[in-house]
Each structure stands twice: as structure tokens, then as C-alpha cells.
Symmetry: D2
Subunit: 339 residues, 4 copies
Amino acid sequence: MTQYGTLGVAVIGTGRMGADHVRRIDQVISGARVSAVVDLDAERAKRLADGIEGCTAHTDAAAAMAADDVDALVIASPGPAHEEALLTAFAHDLPVLCEKPLTPDAASALRVLEAEQRLGRRRVQVGFMRRYDAEYMKLKALLDGGSLGRPLMLHNRHRNASSPPGFTSANLINDSVVHEMDVTRWLLDQEITAVTVLRPRPSSNAPEGLADPQFVVFETDGGALVDVEMSVNTGFGYQVKAEAVCERGTARIGEEQSLVTETAGRWGGTIVQDFTERFADAYDREVQAWVDATRRGEVTGPSVWDGYAAAAVCEAGVRSLTEGVRVEVELIERPALYR
Amino acid sequence: MTQYGTLGVAVIGTGRMGADHVRRIDQVISGARVSAVVDLDAERAKRLADGIEGCTAHTDAAAAMAADDVDALVIASPGPAHEEALLTAFAHDLPVLCEKPLTPDAASALRVLEAEQRLGRRRVQVGFMRRYDAEYMKLKALLDGGSLGRPLMLHNRHRNASSPPGFTSANLINDSVVHEMDVTRWLLDQEITAVTVLRPRPSSNAPEGLADPQFVVFETDGGALVDVEMSVNTGFGYQVKAEAVCERGTARIGEEQSLVTETAGRWGGTIVQDFTERFADAYDREVQAWVDATRRGEVTGPSVWDGYAAAAVCEAGVRSLTEGVRVEVELIERPALYR
Amino acid sequence: MTQYGTLGVAVIGTGRMGADHVRRIDQVISGARVSAVVDLDAERAKRLADGIEGCTAHTDAAAAMAADDVDALVIASPGPAHEEALLTAFAHDLPVLCEKPLTPDAASALRVLEAEQRLGRRRVQVGFMRRYDAEYMKLKALLDGGSLGRPLMLHNRHRNASSPPGFTSANLINDSVVHEMDVTRWLLDQEITAVTVLRPRPSSNAPEGLADPQFVVFETDGGALVDVEMSVNTGFGYQVKAEAVCERGTARIGEEQSLVTETAGRWGGTIVQDFTERFADAYDREVQAWVDATRRGEVTGPSVWDGYAAAAVCEAGVRSLTEGVRVEVELIERPALYR
Amino acid sequence: MTQYGTLGVAVIGTGRMGADHVRRIDQVISGARVSAVVDLDAERAKRLADGIEGCTAHTDAAAAMAADDVDALVIASPGPAHEEALLTAFAHDLPVLCEKPLTPDAASALRVLEAEQRLGRRRVQVGFMRRYDAEYMKLKALLDGGSLGRPLMLHNRHRNASSPPGFTSANLINDSVVHEMDVTRWLLDQEITAVTVLRPRPSSNAPEGLADPQFVVFETDGGALVDVEMSVNTGFGYQVKAEAVCERGTARIGEEQSLVTETAGRWGGTIVQDFTERFADAYDREVQAWVDATRRGEVTGPSVWDGYAAAAVCEAGVRSLTEGVRVEVELIERPALYR
């Protein structure tokens, strides 16, 4: 049944996410090994490769893809480089785990979508890792089970302790709210049809000129209403919460209660400080699931269609943010490959 | 310092709320007694009065107001009767606790506002009883204390098990969301400047034609953004929750955890079924506070201005609901008496 | 049906608890007024009486009991004075709310028990106010309802921020654990048959020589096992928690979650600092219930039997603490009056 | 630094735990492979081996240990078989992960302890997997950090939905409470010096004759008091909770809140039904940690000393259960190898 023994993986891009995926494949998950790392910075690639038995370093992604012991790719380079890497991977007929965003805009995502359709089979899983978070998985299973009835609304809180230097108002949509876009589409199994971005008076924690927080409202083709509180300079920590309000009840996730202390007149727990801590297990599970499916010759995770839809909703969101109006989302008809 | 001994109170209207206030003044709180009850239904008034020592029954509010042993009024008649009762009370110079709404629309509320200004001093407390709920009071104290910094957003959930017969889409605004309007104005100490009412696809629990749930967004003159999930046919119970998101932290109320059980594969607690259970203590505290202040010759609770502002925001809300657009709220300048 | 109009109450002892009951009857509850206050400190009594219309000050309890406008008593003097005050009250045939302890030891409690039996009807309610706490009442109702099956164990946590000066190891039993004794007997409707007091190494917060914390185990005649963590110098606040473990589930109370904040890397709430804050409503409800029952000519709360049983268990507890062994509790047979 | 590449592991015993470890090493964790499985049931061993590349089946543990591609052992056979397997493993100088119990009694555990000392270095990790549970790890880190001060008491709840056929009163101590014994020793870094087992009236869910629940009290050489509610027929699910009460605060774990629903008048979550669900990640983390340490040539987890101490405390516990008295625990002096 297995089509591959141990999967030889080339990791393209060795920044924060790429290096973390290298560590994960090398030390945490089962059934795969890092056979190549690729980075424009040759020194950096070599340093990483040296710590791993049988791993070679490259500065050229295409060369890595051509190597005999490379069975599959993880693309973790900057978004603008994804399209070329994906098309080359298609040429080598390699399965890919592509970090989000699939590509930086809807037009380029559409080109990838068309290229994959020409291949005639799915090769790409997009890195929307919340689908692999234990809490979101429970919520999804509950909604799919149907005991709560049809979802009417989905309330989301997405909070970061602080934004990185140079983070723009559009980044809140493209890099942060994009997760709730995917979560919405996946949890509800509905497409987003309109976006409205509302701007409360910015927090004084936010850098001058940054529209932070934002309050984003999605409408879906199933008639659900989805709101997202998006904050990137809370100061107090990183939080992701969701509540689905359905016809027969509600369900919510994101209340961390694993260790509760009582001390100095206070009871409670700590708030994690960033997404790597909150979603560590989700990344492990995502990559393990990709390796397992790939070894069986399957693609099971978020698809190129999901990457394209997210790009289209992001474009609408940024327009709503800029123009202060509700913006409708235009998607092409869903191709047969992704039904 | 006390201006009254035991306060003689006439209760006008003896429906659900009025009868409950009669019971409260008679059996629960201190410093007041029910000296008169008024209802168009003479039999009903008499039956209630007979159970209370020294209490007389009336069908005419003005007659009750003229009685020697009536020092103050509780108005619990239907909203359309409030204006006349209030103006008559002003003529008798009687302090009033007036159930919400102050009056059914902004124009009539404005007339009451002008009449009270002519008196030159405040006589009316409006029955926005959430201000007397222990949880809201803690939240208010925390926000006023300033440790969390400026409020940026306020998220509200307001859920009822089922709507009464004849409840209309506009009732969701005028009778239910009106509480969050007052809570918003009071907690933030800001006026509401615009309202947008969004309509997800209605719950199949809702009667045909009722826009339920609604998702309401307020903007305030302090730049805060407030959202309200308003559901009146959840089926599962009554819930009121609020979360204030501030510059240095968040605070939330409404998670009932007084009794937690573990049984049959589930842990958790019960959800109350209506507002009388959830807010029983708030009503007691409200009326006790009104009696105490009245005996000292003061008016301390929600004012006619608060009643007027709520009416104006409600009108805007109903227009937004009907027309599907964002509606700005027009208020007169705040008179000196209410600053 | 009412046997009294407004109940005239004499409050004997005007220390912390007595003064608080005076305030409560005067300003909070319905149906009673303070007609007399009694304290050996004449000045103190006079000062208190002066603030209340129609209230007289006494230094002699018997004189107050003889007054025409005294219908009932609250005894809040120190425990050693209770026996005499109770017997005098019996002579005047007055209903009494007696602060705990009923008397300081089992022998004197037994004398009061016998005296009340000679009267032939119950006149005394003992001040075990936890029975009037909303959370304990819910737990009691749940256990009585039977849905969880027979109680097997009861776990209790009773924590104080700091102990008052002069507080002894025996005070932890007699003044603090005594509440769990009553709670155990009331919740389970069973008598305590044996007590074992275990002593972990004392906290360094505790004054030299104080056995704090203590861990107390009760056995009951129904076969239930009850444990109490009793700490009086936690430093961090006041907490009372209970968990009933039954055949078909568990139920617990005491997790305060009315206001939850998220700030500075922490989520959670505050811990109250003393019992007056935690049990404020319970005291109000206790005294209101006593007034209401007294006006109807009834006694409904904790009885002299409950006070006697608590005294007997306390004696056994102190012996276990001192001698380091399990001690069996000896009770007389329950008289017919208290069945 | 790495002493092994991919670690070849022989799994001895392929019952529930053994088969699960085979799956874990084959499909979940990194750095190891199953090179041999051993079971007296040759068919069963063969069936398991056939599904794994390069895995051989054996009925004789010694033969598996002699194989070239076996670098390390997992012992998951029944407890009585452990001593012989461990001594044979010592003869082959193989690192071992030995499921608990180390051996069934203190005398045999002592023989293993002496044999390992003769080797002069630690080779065995005992399978006390709670040390690898994320919540217990947080609690341990908090206690070790010292911010809460010295632990005074540790309260534990250990509940199972139902006991397997043939489960005896002594099994509650030897198979269930044994986890709290290890948790106590590890969290507090103290030895247990005395055990008292108390028996409430058994639950009617329990089979006739089974002393269930039990309430167990440990005393430690650091003066801490530890209590364990041990229930094996709750009917409602599996729960493990712990609360450490320290001089400056408390900390607790075990409140599952990952998904909270509100429906049909109830809020809350589900209770898992068995330990494999609750501790799935702990098992994964335990085996990964053992593989990682073994590849580095180290032993880092619970030692043979821990296995011996647990056996000695269990013996004392069973005596206390049987004889109804407090029993002191006798341990040999801790050998240098385990300090």
C-alpha cells in the first residue's frame, strides 16, 4: 500500500518556518527524512545540512528537485517565490507542502490552480495548519456531526502580543486574518461572498499609522455571518479563540486552562506569547499527515483551491480596509479537480 | 440627612414587572412599603393590595399620586402610557423609578427630557437594571479604574431561549438590544454615533419572518467598536455575556460557574432559562438603590437623558435593520442638567 | 397568617458580627427593625442605637428582652455568654437567631438542648450561614434531588488569607472547620461518627507553634468519607470550595469566575480576601429567612441539635489534633423535637 | 555526539501496551524503528512483524536481544516476566524502556536494582508516563521554579469509568494509585514514609466485594501530606486531577476545557473515557524522549530506584488497605547510582 519507504524531503527556504520544518522532519515525525535544504544563502543552507545525515545543501531549488533522493518538497520560501517553485515542482511531478500564502495574489494563485489542473491530479497541500490543531479538529467534528444544527454565526478572536517591524495595515488581512478565512471556509464548508473591514480607533500600543485592531465581517454563501477581532499589539500575549453559534447550541475553543494557579489574590493561568507555542502540535500533526498521505500517494489537506480562495478573499479584504466599504468576493467556478 | 422615613411607594401597572416590584418592595428590600397599586383592571389591583397592610388599590394613576401616603412612584405600565404618567408625576413633584423604555420613541422621550429640565432637578431613574448587576458593576469598576487602558472594542452576546408570541424583528432592537445600548453608553461613558444591523440567515427555530439572530454593530464618539450577537430563539437558554477589549488587556463577564457537575461523560453546568433568574439580584439592588437615594433626596441611577439616548439609538437601529444600511444617530446636545 | 407585623429585634453584642447584623436589619432586609442593642460597653451601644429610629441602648440583655417592642433576639455576644442569654430568652419565650457557636462545648450545648425541649417547641436558629449561600443551596438541592446517586465522599477546601492574633491550633477546628462540620451534616443528612486530624509540616506563613494547615477527615454514619483542607495563612486570599463525589457523578462549588481578565501574560480573576465578601449575600439571606419564619411563628434553620452536634464533633476534633489519633464522636440519641 | 543512527528496537510483549508501542515507534516518533517483536504467541508476533519493513518475530526474548539489529528494548510483557527480561537485557548490555511495574514486589525490584548497580551505570527507564504529560510537566516546572514556595499538600483525583473483570481491591493500589505514588515522589522530590488507606462505603457501581472508592493518604519525608481519591467505577469517565497547595499559592491541573459547548440548558464539555485518550501525547513524548536519550547514550527518565520505591510503597498500601491501619514505608538507603 505504501508507495514510498522513508520519504526524502527537500525543504526550500530555511528562514524561521523552513528551519523549523527541517528540525521537525529530522527529529520529531516519523517516515520522512530531510534529504536536501535550499537557501539563497549558501552558508546558511550548508550549516543546516551539516547537522543531518545524508542531507545536501543547495542554493538552487531546481537542482534539489532533480536529486535522486528527493521525493517531495516543503516550500517555505517567501510568498513571491512560491509560484515559480510550484511550477517547477509540477514539472518534476513532486508532491508539495507549500507554506501559506499559496501565492501573494489571486491572479498568481489562479495560474497555479490551472497548472495543477493540467497535471490532472492534486499535488499540493497548502500550509493552513489550524486544520490540524486539536481544538479546531474537535470543533470541526462537532459541527460536521450535526448535533448543533446549522451554524448561524462564527465569532473569532485573533490576538498577537506585538507586530513585527514594517507590519502594515494590509498585513493584518493578508498574514493574520487569512487564517480565519481558511478556518471559516473549512469549518462551515461554505465560500465567503463578502468582506467588510471596520476600524476602531487604533490602540496606542500600535505603531503610528497602523490600523490595529481591525474588526472584520465575512458573509458566506450559506448565509452565515462571521466576525473576526484582529489585534496585533495586545501586549499581553497570543490568543486564538472561536465560537460557533448554531441553531441548537454553541461551541467554543481557545480557553487555555491546562495549569491554573491561585496566588497573591489572583487565580488563573498564563497566556502564551506566540503562535509557535500555541500551535506547536498542529505543525507537527500537519507535517506528519502530509508525509503519511504522500507515502500513500494521496493529497488530503488544504488544496490549491483553498489557497486561491484565500487569496481572493484577502484582496477583497484589503480593498474594504482601504475604501471603507463592504466588498464582494469574486471567485471562478470551482473546478472539478477540487470538488 | 434622611428626608423620608419608610418610603410610601405607588406601583403603577401590575403586570409581570409591576407585580414583581410590589413583591420586592413588600418582602425583600428595606426602607420602603407599597402604599398604593394602580391598574386599569380594578380587580387585579385590589387582589394585590389586599395582601399588603396599608395598601390601597386604584385604577387611576393620578388619584394614587395625590394620596398622602404616596412619596414616590414605580412606573411599570406599558411603554406608551409612560409619558403621561411621568408628566403627572412631575406635576406632583414625585420621584420616579420608570421601567424601560422611558417612552417608545425619541420624540416623546425628548418631551419628557424637556419637562424634567423645566422642573430644574432630576426626578426620574430609568429601569436599566444591568447597571446593578454584580458582574457588570465589577466590569465597570475595572474599566473606570483604568488599569486596562482605553477600551477599543466591546463584544456582547445576548441570547434568549425563545421569543414571546408576536415578537417582531424590530422588537429585537427595541426590547433586547436596548440593554446593550445602555450598557455600552454606561460602561464606556461614550455616546453611540452609528448603528449597523446585519442579518445572518435566520435560525429555523425562529418564527417565519423574524430576523433572528441579528448582529448589531455600534460605533461610539470615543472611537470604540461594539458588536452584539442578539438571538431570541436559541432553544437552550438565556445568556448575557460581555467582553471589553482594552489597550492593556481584556475583561469578560457572563460565564456562570457556580455549580459544576461531572456526570455521564460530561462536565459543566446549567444555563438559566430567563432573565428573571439571571438578573434577580440586579432588580433587588436596583430598587433598593433607588429607595435609598430617594430617601436621601437624590437621584443617582440612569437618567432621562439615558432613556432619550436609548430611544434615539433604537430608532436608528430599526432603520438599519429595515434598510440594510449603516445609520448615523442624531442626538440633541446634552443639557446641563445631565452632565 | 403573619403573626407579627414588623419584627422588633434586639441585637445582643455589637462587635464585628453584631454591628453587621444591626446594619443588615436596619438597611438591607425587609420586615424587621432594630428596636434594641445590648453591649457591656454602654457608649458603644448608645452610639449604634442613636443612628436608628426607635432603637434603645442597653448594657443588660435581660432588660432588653423585657422591653415591649422586642419580639425577637439576635445573639452575637462572645460564645461563653450564649448559654445564659439563651436560657433567659427561653424564659421570655423569645425567638432567637444565635451566632455560632451555640455554646463553647458539648456539655453546655446539651443543657441548652434540654432547656429547649422543656419548652416543648423550637425557638432557636443557629448561625450556620453557609446553608444560605447560593452555591451551597444549589449543591444541596442537587444532592437531595438524587440524580447523582448516593454521596461517597466530600472534599472541602477552606482557606483564609491570615489568622487573627492569638489564633490557636484548636481555633482551626472550633472556629473554622466547624463550618465544614455543619456543611457535612446538612449536605449529607448524616451524623459524623469519627474525626482524624492530620498535620502536615506547618506553612512558614503561620505563626510559630500554630498547626496550620490541618487536614481533617470525617467519617459519617452513612459511610461517607469527608476531607477538609483547613488553611488559615495562605497569604493569597479566602476560598471555600466543596466537591461531592457521588455514585453517578460529582458536583462542585467555589470557583469564582464572575469577572475574568486577560492582561500581562495572565488570564484569570481575583480571589476575595475575607468571608464577609464571600458570604455577604448568605448573611443577608440567613437573617431575612429567620425574620420571615419568625413572623410566621416558625423556626426553620439550623437547630440547637445542630449546634450541639457541632460542639461534640469539635471536641473530638481537638482531641484528635492533640493526641494524633482518630477519635470517635459520642452523641446522645436525637430527641423527638429535632427529628 | 549521537551514538546510534536509527535505533533498532525490540518490543517484548505485544498485548495492548506492547502493540501500541509498536505502532508508536513505527508510525509516530522519529529516530527509531521496530526491528523485532516478541510474544509467546508466535502467530500474534508474526502478524505484527509482517506489517513492518525489516521487523522479525520471536517467541523468545533472549533470541531477539541477541539479534544484530536490536539496539534497545521495550518491555511490555506482564509484570512477573519483567525481572528475567531485565536481567537478560543487562547481560546483553541493552538500554530498556520497561513498562510499569518494574517488577511486582519490592524484593524482586531490589534484585534488579542491585543488578543494575553491578553494571555500574543506568540502563533502564521505567514507564511512569505521567512525567511526560504536558500538564504534569508544567506543574513540575512551576513547583521547581519555587515561586509558590514549599509544597504543603497535594490533592489528587484519579477516576476510571469502570474496572476490568477480576480487578481486586489491591489492584486499586498496585495498578492505579501507583501513578500517584510516582507523581508524588517526582513532583515533590521527596520519599513517601507512610501510607493510610481509608475505605468509604463502596459505590453500588462497584462489583460486590471491591473496596471502591478508596481514599489514600501519603506522608513524605519533607512533611507534605498527599491525598488520593481513587475511584475505578465512576461510570461517567476517566479523570486525573492534581492540586499542589504551597506556602504562597496553589496550582492545579486536570480541568479539560478544550471544547466547551452550550446546548439544551447545559454548558460544558465531554469527559474522556480512558487513559489512552487522556495520555496519548504523554506516551508519544515518553517514548520519543527515551529514544532520543538512548541515541545519545543516556538514561534520563524514571529509574530503577523509582520502580523499587513504588513497589515498596505499594506493599505498604496494600497492608494498610487490608489491616485498616497506617503503615510506615521501609526503603533501603538510596544507592549512589541513583542520586
